[in-house]
Assembly symmetry: C2
Homo-oligomer: 244 residues x 2
Amino acid sequence: VLPRFYAPQIERGARSIVLDADESHHLVHVLRLKAADTVRVFDGRGGEWQGRLVSCDKRGAAIDALEPIAPLPEAEVAVTLVVGLLRGPAMHDLVRDATMLGAHRVVPVYTERTAVSKRRDVVPVARWRRIAITSCKQCGRAVVPEIAEPLPFSEAIQREAGVRLMLVEPTAAIDGRCRVDDLAAPARQGGALIAVGPEGGWTDAEVRLAVEAGYVPWSLGTQVLRAEAVPLAALSVLRYAWSS
Amino acid sequence: VLPRFYAPQIERGARSIVLDADESHHLVHVLRLKAADTVRVFDGRGGEWQGRLVSCDKRGAAIDALEPIAPLPEAEVAVTLVVGLLRGPAMHDLVRDATMLGAHRVVPVYTERTAVSKRRDVVPVARWRRIAITSCKQCGRAVVPEIAEPLPFSEAIQREAGVRLMLVEPTAAIDGRCRVDDLAAPARQGGALIAVGPEGGWTDAEVRLAVEAGYVPWSLGTQVLRAEAVPLAALSVLRYAWSS
């Protein structure tokens, strides 16, 4: 597997590129690559190139002989994950795993049972974005998912149309749960959106609000899953169910 | 949701039961239940009862008026997870999540790239078994999955028949990858077995050995997933694919 670097500044027809300071540091001091090594570069928007390391000086690591290559295919359905903010490391894991599992966008939301303060220092969006980039470098994706600024849940759910699923606990008394099979056709044409609650789950009022806004309740199997495991399980199942 | 307790000693026709010390402690000191509270008891083999807390003294918490109730349905296909030993906390998470996701059995294996020593203190099977019980209490399952003693991989793969899948990295050059759709029919009649490698992945020799023993290579999507996320994703997808 060739080492991959993130270069959002790369232009479509580029033949050479100088990596930024972070990526250059990773190339030189972590991976210890040498001149003439073959590397890959991706722009985070679906473009990927292969090239040759020329040198690394104060300006950064220079790569030339860039040739476009076919990026890893993205999921057939662009899935947005609307997720109740989780505590520190759980949120890091979530962003990393959602990226690996092909999420198109992550929208963190404040819910009634969110246990995380709204203080800026505990909602480190910039850090989540770096985690998403690192995850792309590792998993092979050429598209970096968008990590949105956190929103109140009630606001987030008004913004979207199309196929929308709300993950609810299998034990909750909620009518109209869907089978994902039934949603396959419409979802392929546009994107889909799945809402996953925080550790304490959704309140009844939130479920009602979401259903009124067009969300369909969905449960994964019959067991109660940990909050952190639900997005992984849901993204895995949807990717499988909606791939041809 | 009613509190649930594990009582493997319960007999089929029982009308009353005294919980063991650990479960009594949980009932009294963690959940702080009181006499006349309604509780549930499960035997770990698929039996579940509802009853009434009578008292808790030195002998333990006594529950009477037990009536059998319908347990949570198990997965239609009994899946055994053969998994390369992961480091400490990752292995705990794996056992907890595999239990939640309905695994029938977990068989930890030593592989060529296993980073865990074989010393007894770092292979705490008894602890994993307690984690599986705790996970059952939380997720609602009445069946505690079997956690086997760790085995060498080469030994573990000779022991089983039926549908066997080996999770391999999407980037690995391996012929004959399957589509899970194709496996649905045979799997329903018996159990199925999925093998997931450790952090460093399988060696080529291990993949060859497994294929010779009847394993079919399978990849989840096109991205490379973290070792810890692979069992969750695989169990989620199989549960969905193989449920009617």
